[in-house]
Amino acid sequence: MKRATLFPYVIWMALFIVVPMLLVLYYAFTVPTDAGATWSLDNFSRFFEPIYLRVLGRSLRLAVISTIICLLLGYPAAMVMAGNAFSRKSVILLLFVVPMWMNFLLRTYAWLTLLERNGVINVLLNALRLPNLNILYTESAVVLGMVYNFLPFMVLPIYSVLSKIDKGVIEAAGDLGANSFRVFTRVIFPLSVPGLVSGVTMVFMPALTTFVISRLLGGGQFTLIGNLIEQQFLVVGDWGFGSSISVVMIVLILFSMAIMSFFEGEEKSVALW
């Protein structure tokens, strides 16, 4: 086996991964002038204007809210699935994965049908003589879309960690006198932290960077950081500013990954990427 087989990939990688990233950095740190371009931090200082900071704040807020909801909904689900409530675990797991295979846009689009003024949910509510629910094109709809799309990413890593916990450890804790609450807080939960961290990462990051959910369910009113980048490249044509926002986003993500890996510790028990 020769290492020469690596050759085509190295060239491909350099051309289509490394060079594009360098170009993004180049555009982020330069401003066009008459004589070409000069190095400058103008693009970044623009980002710290109040309108853009508000966008960043909104993106972070919605991403955090969605992550927390996913965690609250997903952790118990993962626990039940890892426990012995179901006899055919692999089927249950598969049922969890199947919706993820549906085209992402279609899954988001489906909520339009449900949430519309005359949509399915409101027809049902009317039939029950309950007040209408008009959340389409609001922040709530965006959060709902994020939770719907990313919930499986929270459940799967937590499930995989929980199902690997040695049953003996739990029994031992019980034998040593811990009640089931203490067993959970002192044994199960600490052992599940690596999965929880992966889950949080896998929900938080796409939620932070999405521009599709906010565009479809937020109706374009709720500009998130992803929409801002999209606009700079496809509408405004300001590559410098767009690139600088992308760099900020990469830094944010590297930063949160560093925090996460700090919590995850040395243990790399979850097979994630």
Binding site: M1, R3, A4, T5, L6, P8, Y9, M13, L15, F16, I17, P20, L23, V24, Y27, L73, P76, V80, M81, G83, L95, F96, V98, P99, M100, W101, M102, N103, F104, L105, L106, Y109, A110, L112, T113, L114, N118, V120, N149, F153, L156, S160, M202, M205, P206, T209, F211, V212, I213, L216, I229, F233, W239, S246, M249, I250, M257, A271, L272, W273
Partner: protein, 279 residues
């Protein structure tokens, strides 16, 4: 009782996950444009779907780009995996980190970086740029599918082939490739599905006139609800379900052979999930 509550909770979550899809499917047969009402059973939207030239041409582009990008990515990725497997030290670290870059980067960043490259290099945005972009984001997944198979490979197999008189190329084709074939096929299927499913990267790297199914759906959905999309969803969901069953049967068979660790398939599922969600 507790068991019943636990189960109900998971069923509720399933209801949450499946309800929108189910509603889409039911309404694809609804003979009334308004969503709240049921106007009788019809196949009208399916007929209109197949007569819609924009949708049909984007379906064609999606499949074409999916097949070609999966094939090219599989070839480059498999060769790369073999090379990486035989590289050590800092070199390996650098290559692996760059390989992970498109996997970990937010999709929108990969998308705009490729768009900048293509515009900068004055390549006209269209089929070619779409194809190059798809190959680029597919290669890492092929590498990550093939590498575990190479690690399971007996080190002496290749040497034995050489001792028995085969040239290095022959040993590669007749011994190594057949041994890692399951990983290659998984990687190729993964690449194909990822390519078909991609929206963000296609959206930024395509030019006027060329659009994939995802892009068409996006521009239709932006204008509101369209029953043709419901019909399309039903067809796509059924297709994906069938594909998933095939893949699972394959994996189950392999696991029976005892070669593929459970971890392998799990990793693929979650990495795929990561990809699908990274929009």
């Amino acid at each position: 009782m507790v068991k019943f509550l636990k189960r109900s909770y998971v069923y509720l979550i399933f209801a949450f996950l499946y309800m929108p899809i189910a509603v889409l499917m039911v309404y694809s047969f609804n003979d009334s444009r308004s969503r709240g009402m049921w106007g009788g059973f019809t196949l009208r939207w399916y007929v209109e779907l197949f007569q819609d030239r924009t949708i049909m041409s984007s379906l064609y582009s999606t499949l074409l780009i999916g097949v070609v990008s999966a094939l090219v990515a599989t070839i480059i990725g498999t060769l790369a995996a073999i090379g990486i497997h035989n590289t050590r030290g800092i070199q390996k670290k650098v290559i692996m980190n760059i390989t992970y870059l498109p996997v970990l980067n937010p999709e929108i960043v990969t998308a705009i970086s490729l768009m900048i490259l293509f515009v900068f290099a004055r390549v006209r945005l269209g089929y070619l740029t779409l194809l190059l972009a798809h190959i680029t984001f597919n290669i890492p997944y092929v590498i990550l599918s093939v590498l575990p198979k190479l690690r399971q490979l007996n080190k002496h197999l290749y040497e034995a082939a050489l001792d028995l008189g085969s040239t290095p190329t022959q040993a590669l084709w007749k011994v190594i490739i057949p041994e890692i074939m399951p990983g290659i096929i998984t990687g190729m299927l993964l690449a194909f599905t990822l390519s078909i499913d991609d929206f963000v990267i296609s959206f930024f790297t395509t030019g006027s006139g060329v659009s994939t199914l995802s892009i068409t759906i996006y521009s239709m959905a932006r204008r509101g609800i369209n029953p043709k999309i419901n019909a399309l969803s039903t067809i796509m969901f059924t297709f994906v379900l069938l594909l998933l069953i095939v893949v699972n049967v394959r994996q189950a068979r392999e696991e029976k052979k005892g070669r593929n660790g459970k971890n392998g398939s799990k990793r693929q599922v979650s990495s795929l999930g990561a990809r699908l969600g990274g929009v």
